[in-house]
Point group: C2
Chain length 364, copies 2
């Protein structure tokens, strides 16, 4: 893995991240393909939407299909026929947000499979083993996602467990595959600093901020971002996990973040919520019933070049899955286009103008 | 509309049907796009599957979206962005199979909208008006679909009502757009002959056989087909409505049928049932869990060129709508390829061999 920063403007940076399956431009937004697919879309469509990298989840893929099937296929890239980079999440976040009856010990987490109720054990060692077998381009350490709200005592204890697991994850990586550390510490910037300081000892290939976008107000998150981001190593990729909305992304970029992931573009698309150059549009609103214009006149995605709001709304009313698909294409394209505009703004030192424009269109 | 038969072999024929939006090769299978979309597929994908014509339903499109919206778009082709031929069904079949509280009179049918419970009236005049406004390439007369079983008295009465509606439909066609008559008469070949004889007076552009594939045994349907098909005008397209399975299609072709439509390829695809060169495959069977071969080694569709059975089964398990979509692509392609093989067999006088092959692979 190589990371070259080609331009800086304030704290914001443009870079090229060279991974096993290709080069990605940063700041980069990773579309989420939890189970080894971006729901409803083929890989060709992802490429047409200019997606350079996707995120898959070790937790989900451990539960379904059997790990051995993906190994037999020759890894996740071959199984899903995607030849570009994949970042795999370690499962830490999902264990705590999606599983029931979790029993946490120093060794790892035992939980009940939400699929069939069977007992499953996930540990740093196990998570890294799965990620190695998936053939990930970037692996994440196994951590505990500190919930919000958490008092300082809780946040400290959780952060310390994550640090221990970071060490175990680091040891478990017997491969030469890139592994990112994850800074925890809840909403306490001093805990975040401690977390970072300790993580640096393992010389990870990149550093992520975890435990954000878990229900806290944007202002609180932005405060943490402002205090910690510039302290992350300057020559390594910085990844803000689970964020987010256009406004939140561009703020984080201005603080020096390079990578993002979020289910918003795809999940919201399937619910009729579309991102446009003039804000959010909900296709289910009556006003679009006979609107023969595209979702966004300024968009060049496949959907906008071929279909009208009225037609997509009609498909949605008819429960035709083509609706969710066409809207997913639009939103995935929109996010990639948004990142391209961000990179262009950094290149041309006009990021502040773009921030104002985004804040104007996206009130939330 | 022009129809040229280029080759005959026994009763089977190959032809070119020249319609407003393009030429179709017969025998032809029309993929069903009830509401102005073939569920889950874009028009580009339909073209990649070699679809030359699709069937849409006047009944469904009358109920949703508002007819005025399609008119405002400039017709159904523009609304759905499909530039190839569309045959529209008149709504007769749907009124009787999908609506509740139908009140039939000589003038037409009053029924309760299954969407919102409001009273709707559909008549031959109204159906033709809708089909003209949709901009159909081939319109169908409004008829009553005789149920199965029906005694001779019932079948006769129903057939006579359909004849009256055929006359009204014919009168209502103030356009120059092609209109097909529909032969009814249930399972009584003498009633079918009467129906045909009367319909011929209106010199329709093509003739369909309706009221088949409504629950009767294949042997009974085939008996009717054998008795009536060769009596349909030789120089006009012959359309067997709602059929069907590969075995039934090829038998009908051998009797002289030129056109077909059926929801089987798309509906069954969404339920995991796939057509292959060696018979039917159900992707949900456990045996495909780690099967990394394509659905059909002999198939050149997008799905078979890019994805394995194990991956598609995994998507289906995860309720990813990409599964239904990839399987729809395969089945739509399979049916078009099947029709191409049929045409080739007629061309080379080997239809009997193909029939034996199909009967061997498709027991049902």
């Amino acid at each position: 893995m190589k990371f070259n920063i080609t331009k800086k403007s304030g704290n914001a940076r443009i870079g090229k991240l060279n991974l096993k399956h290709g080069i990605i431009d940063t700041p980069s937004f990773m579309t989420v393909g939890t189970y080894g697919s971006v729901k409803s879309l083929t890989n060709n469509e992802l490429l047409d939407c200019n997606a350079q990298i996707i995120l898959c989840n070790a937790y989900h893929l451990m539960l379904r299909p059997d790990q051995k099937i993906i190994e037999k296929a020759g890894g996740l890239h071959k199984f899903m026929n995607w030849n570009k980079p994949i970042l795999t999440d370690s499962g830490g976040y999902q264990v705590f947000s999606l599983s029931s009856q979790t029993k946490v010990s120093r060794d790892g987490v035992e939980f009940k499979s939400p699929l069939n109720g069977s007992k499953v054990f996930l540990s740093p060692e196990k998570s890294i083993e799965i990620q190695i077998n998936l053939g990930s381009d970037i692996m994440m350490i196994f951590d505990e996602c500190t919930p919000y709200p958490a008092n300082k005592e809780q946040a400290k204890k959780s952060m310390e467990l994550s640090l221990y697991w970071a060490e175990l994850s680091h040891k478990a990586n017997t491969s030469s595959m890139p592994l990112f550390g994850i800074v925890q510490g809840g909403m306490y910037s001093d805990l975040r600093e401690t977390s970072l300081k300790e993580l640096l000892k393992f010389n990870f290939d990149g550093y992520a901020l975890g435990g954000l976008s878990v229900g806290e107000p944007s202002a609180l998150r932005n405060d943490i971002l402002q205090k910690i981001t510039h302290k992350l190593p300057k020559d390594k990729p910085r990844y803000l996990m689970g964020v987010g909305k256009p406004k939140d992304i561009i703020y984080a970029v201005s603080q020096g973040i390079d990578m993002f992931d979020c289910v918003i573009p795809t999940r919201n698309a399937r619910n009729g919520q579309l991102f446009t150059s003039s804000g959010i549009l909900n296709i289910r609103n009556k006003q679009y019933e006979s609107d023969l214009t595209p979702i966004d006149e300024n968009c060049s995605c496949f959907t906008c070049k071929n279909y009208s709001r009225a037609y997509i709304r009609h498909l949605d009313k008819c429960n035709d899955i083509l609706a969710g698909r066409l809207m997913s294409i639009h939103n995935v394209y929109f996010y990639q286009e948004f990142m391209r505009k961000i990179r262009f703004a950094i290149e041309s030192n006009t990021l502040d103008d773009l921030i104002k424009n985004v804040e104007h269109n996206y009130i939330e």
